[in-house]
């Protein structure tokens, strides 16, 4: 039982813009190289243990959603390998591949775009069951009603269309759809960021209830640090396609090691602190993933930037038993 439940090993995902005709001609003539690839996810390694909740945090555009899609098999990785229960998923075919796709389910960010507007709720939730014949035909309805009840939706809604629901209800439908195929790993791509704050809490509680009942494992992608701290066992911080720090939630939030994590955690608004904090917001913007800065991608915005940061990209190294960070502040002692 030593196999890792789920692992991303050196996974990268590039997006290449399609060259225009003129660009292709120029390339063919040998004037320039091919257009640069956008490195949405760059060499990420992440191990997830069964039953654990891993929070994945980062700014908009840092590659969180792409990573989630690579994990669920919606996007193939450009490099690296995804392992599910110890087996590389690219080698899976037929039934095994379908099993991986179904066991690793995704809950999407936008509850308005993630449900087919032309399908009734009952059809939508039971679709995979019907198409893949996962349960006998006469039990599809029963299973569908079961998961709808589990996420707290009235069974009278089965014959309604998605547009007749509120955002929170739609997100519950999305969760029910994922649960219908009995997954053991849920990848949640900012599942509450499109919802009202009052609804967010309800949906997060639903996630936690479901987890307890079904013993699920979560990869919870979010940019809301409060939510992530509340629900995660471990937290990974992403910056420009790379994981810059990963550790247990309690430890990481108490004493962030990477300057970027420090800046993020300093920025959490607090309702209880009375004393004035010295708050220095991060300067500048996320650099373009088309041409990331050399060395450490964070160095242009880092207050601790040293000469080495501009030249050498710091590897993710272990700094304490359950914590790793990618920063020269923590790696210099060993690497030199």
């Amino acid at each position: 039982m030593s196999e890792t439940f789920f692992e991303l090993r050196d996974v990268s995902r590039y997006f290449r813009s399609k060259p225009s005709l003129t660009q292709r001609i120029v390339t063919a003539l040998g004037r320039t190289g091919p257009p640069p690839a956008l490195r949405a996810v760059d060499d990420v390694t992440l191990r997830i243990r069964a039953g654990e909740v891993v929070g994945l945090v980062g700014e908009s555009g840092c590659g969180k959603s792409t990573l989630a899609r690579v994990a669920t098999g919606i996007l193939p990785p450009s490099a690296g390998e995804v392992f599910y229960k110890g087996r590389p998923v690219t080698e899976l075919t037929g039934k095994d591949r379908l099993n991986y796709l179904l066991k690793v389910q995704m809950v999407f960010q936008d509850p308005y775009a993630s449900l087919n507007p032309r399908m009734k709720v009952g059809q939508l939730v039971g679709e995979a069951l019907r198409v893949h014949k996962l349960v006998p035909k006469n039990e599809v309805g029963e299973r569908t009603r079961g998961v709808l009840k589990e996420v707290g939706l009235d069974l009278g809604y089965m014959d309604r269309y998605p547009h007749q629901f509120s955002g929170g209800q739609r997100q519950r439908i999305g969760i029910a759809r994922a649960l219908a195929v009995e997954p053991d790993f849920l990848v949640c791509d900012e599942p509450v960021s499109a919802l009202d704050v009052s609804i967010q809490a309800q949906v997060i509680n639903l996630f936690m209830d479901v987890r307890e009942r079904r013993g699920l494992t979560y990869l919870f992608v979010s940019h809301d640090l409060g939510v992530v701290r509340h629900i995660s066992d471990r937290v990974a911080i992403m910056y420009l396609g790379r994981i810059v720090e990963i550790g247990t939630a309690a430890e990481l939030f108490a004493k962030p090691a990477h300057p970027y994590s420090q800046a993020l955690i300093r920025a959490i608004p607090s309702a209880v602190t009375r004393r004035r904090r010295a708050f220095t917001p991060l300067k500048g913007e996320l650099p373009s993933a088309l041409s990331p800065p050399p060395g450490c991608a964070f160095h242009p915005r880092c207050e601790h930037a040293m000469p080495i940061c501009r030249e050498v990209r710091p590897p993710l190294v272990q700094i304490s038993p359950d914590r790793s960070a990618a920063c020269h502040l923590h790696s210099t002692s060993e690497s030199v």
């Binding site: 919606i74 796709l101 179904l102 995704m106 993630s114 087919n116 679709e127 995979a128 198409v131 893949h132």
Partner: protein, 303 residues
């Protein structure tokens, strides 16, 4: 308070099914509702033609050449009163027009349905598979749309001959390309939505995703454009028949009737050409008016 009422009204609007909204939109417009009624009447007349016409214009035995070119309202040798006159073969114009309407509608609707089917499939495949499939299909579409449709249809028909089925094929071939282009554009937008990713995540077969997810969500605008294109298919058929490459003489459509009466126009026997002409104008104009209203209701931009 007023804000509450406004939001309430908006929610009510959003919750009314689109179908009802469109129906209301048509009913509130006199031109659109008039056109809808006109189409209903014309279709009904065409369907009931064998029952209500005094004469079967295709049955040459029932025609009397002695009754040729009678003016509207005259009574012929057979005792029938020809309310719209007769043509050179002694054919009752009213009967001929109603039967012609049948042919015109049949050709227009089947050709549009066929073109819609071919175009939708082509557009869907191009959007979903992209790359070489997309490039190939869209270059064919560009090529097809580069020629004037009347020219392509003329060349086609003069090589394969006349006949209702052949005209349908010719019109299908010149019209599928516009649907393909529209369908591709709509499907490209839909394909990026998360519900398609969800379908991929469930490992659903490509055929299933295309048919049950992409198609129903992309076809709206294409259907609306098709409703306008029925009129242009009918016009195209009329033009081809007028030019003598369309339907056979034994099964005249409105266009062929106009062609038959054309030579008598200057000799004062206007009814042989003018009445089928009026019927054609009425049909095409009603289809256009209704189609245009549908297009506006669904907020679709034209091809």
């Amino acid at each position: 308070m007023t804000a509450d009422i406004e939001t309430f009204a908006k929610t009510a609007e959003a919750n009314t099914p689109l179908r009802m909204q469109v129906l209301r939109n048509i009913r509130n417009r006199p031109t659109a509702s008039g056109a809808a009624i006109a189409i209903a009447i014309l279709v009904l007349l065409a369907l009931l033609a064998p029952v209500i016409t005094p004469q079967n214009p295709y049955d040459l035995a029932s025609l009397s050449v002695m009754d040729n070119r009678l003016a509207p309202g005259e009574t012929g040798m057979t005792g029938i009163t020809y309310w719209l006159g007769t043509d050179a073969q002694g054919r009752d114009m009213l009967s001929a027009i109603l039967y012609g309407l049948r042919t015109s509608l049949l050709v227009g609707l089947t050709a549009t349905a066929g073109a819609l089917a071919i175009g939708s499939v082509a557009g869907l495949l191009a959007a979903h598979f992209g790359g070489a499939v997309d490039a190939l299909l869209m270059r064919i579409v560009d090529f097809m749309l580069g020629f004037p449709s009347i020219l392509v249809a003329l060349i086609l028909l003069s090589s394969i001959g006349r006949g209702v089925d052949k005209v349908v094929v010719a019109i299908m071939l010149v019209q599928w390309a516009q649907y393909a282009r529209l369908m591709r554009a709509a499907a490209l937008v839909e394909r990026r939505k998360e519900y398609i990713e969800a379908a991929l995540n469930f490992g659903l077969p490509t055929r299933h995703i295309l048919l049950f997810h992409l198609l129903p969500n992309s076809i709206g605008s294409v259907l609306v454009v098709a409703s306008i294109s029925v009129a242009s298919a009918i016009t195209l058929e009329a033009t081809l028949s007028f030019l003598g490459v369309g339907v056979p003489v034994t099964q005249p459509s409105l266009g062929l009737l106009i062609a038959n009466g054309f030579e008598f126009l200057l000799s004062g026997q206007y009814w042989i050409a003018v009445f089928p002409g009026i019927a054609l104008v009425l049909l095409v104009m009603s289809l256009n008016l209704l189609g245009d209203r549908l297009r506006r209701s669904f907020n679709v931009r034209g091809p």
